[in-house]
Amino acid sequence: AQSVTQLDSQVPVFEEAPVELRCNYSSSVSVYLFWYVQYPNQGLQLLLKYLSGSTLVKGINGFEAEFNKSQTSFHLRKPSVHISDTAEYFCAAPGGSQGNLIFGKGTKLSVKP
C-alpha cells in the first residue's frame, strides 16, 4: 500500500538547537515529495518540495530536506530552531486514488526557551 510515514509524533527541542524530522515513503508512491507546516489554528503552508534535480532542497524559514532514494527518506532539518518554529509538520507525496496527496500523520515540533 502507498504510504508516507513520519516516525516521530512529537519532537521537543530547545531554542537554537538543531532538529531533524523524519519521513519515509513507500517506493510505490511517486517520488515527488512535500513538507507542509501548520501553525496553531491555521491551514497548511508549503515549506518545501522535491520534484526533480538536486536532492538537497531548501525551503522557507531556513528549513531544508534531503531526498534519499536508497533509504526512501525525505528528512526535514534546520540547524538552529526558533520559538516561532513551534508547529505541526506534515510530509506528503502524491499517490492517492484520486491523484491527491497522501500525508503522514504529522510531527509536532515544540521549541522551548
Binding site: Y32, F90, Q98
Partner: protein
C-alpha cells in the same frame, strides 16, 4: 499568490443539523479537495472534484456530500451532523498542468464542533 478561503474559522452546530462548509479559490484551479484532520490520524480525503459538477469519493465520504456549481467554489455538506464529525476541515485546490499539478494549496481550515 494563490488564495483559498473558507467561509468560517470556527463553527458550532447541534446534532442533526444540516451544515454547509464553503471553500473558494481564486486561481482558476480545476481540482479541489476536502480533507478532515484529526489528532494522530493526519489528513484524510473526504471528497475530490476534478471540474465543475464533477466529484469523486475519497477515503471517508460517509455522512458527507459535496457541490461544485462554479469552478472557484467547492462546498462540503453534512446532511445530518453527528458528534463524530467534530473535526478540523481543510479545503485545498491545485492546477492540473505540469509539475505544479502535484502541489496543493490549502485554506485556513474550519474547526467544526457538533454538540
Amino acid at each position: 499568490d494563490v488564495k483559498v478561503t473558507q467561509s468560517s474559522r470556527y463553527l458550532v452546530k447541534r446534532t442533526g443539523e444540516k451544515v454547509f462548509l464553503e471553500c473558494v479559490q481564486d486561481m482558476d484551479h480545476e481540482n479541489m479537495f476536502w480533507y478532515r484532520q484529526d489528532p494522530g490520524l493526519g489528513l484524510r480525503l473526504i471528497y475530490f472534484s476534478y471540474d465543475v459538477k464533477m466529484k469523486e469519493k475519497g477515503d471517508i465520504p460517509e455522512g458527507y456530500s459535496v457541490s461544485r456549481e462554479k469552478k472557484e467554489r467547492f462546498s462540503l455538506i453534512l446532511e445530518s451532523a453527528s458528534t463524530n464529525q467534530t473535526s478540523m476541515y481543510l479545503c485545498a485546490s491545485r492546477p492540473v498542468v505540469g509539475l505544479a499539478a502535484y502541489e496543493q494549496y490549502f485554506g485556513p481550515g474550519t474547526r467544526l464542533t457538533v454538540t
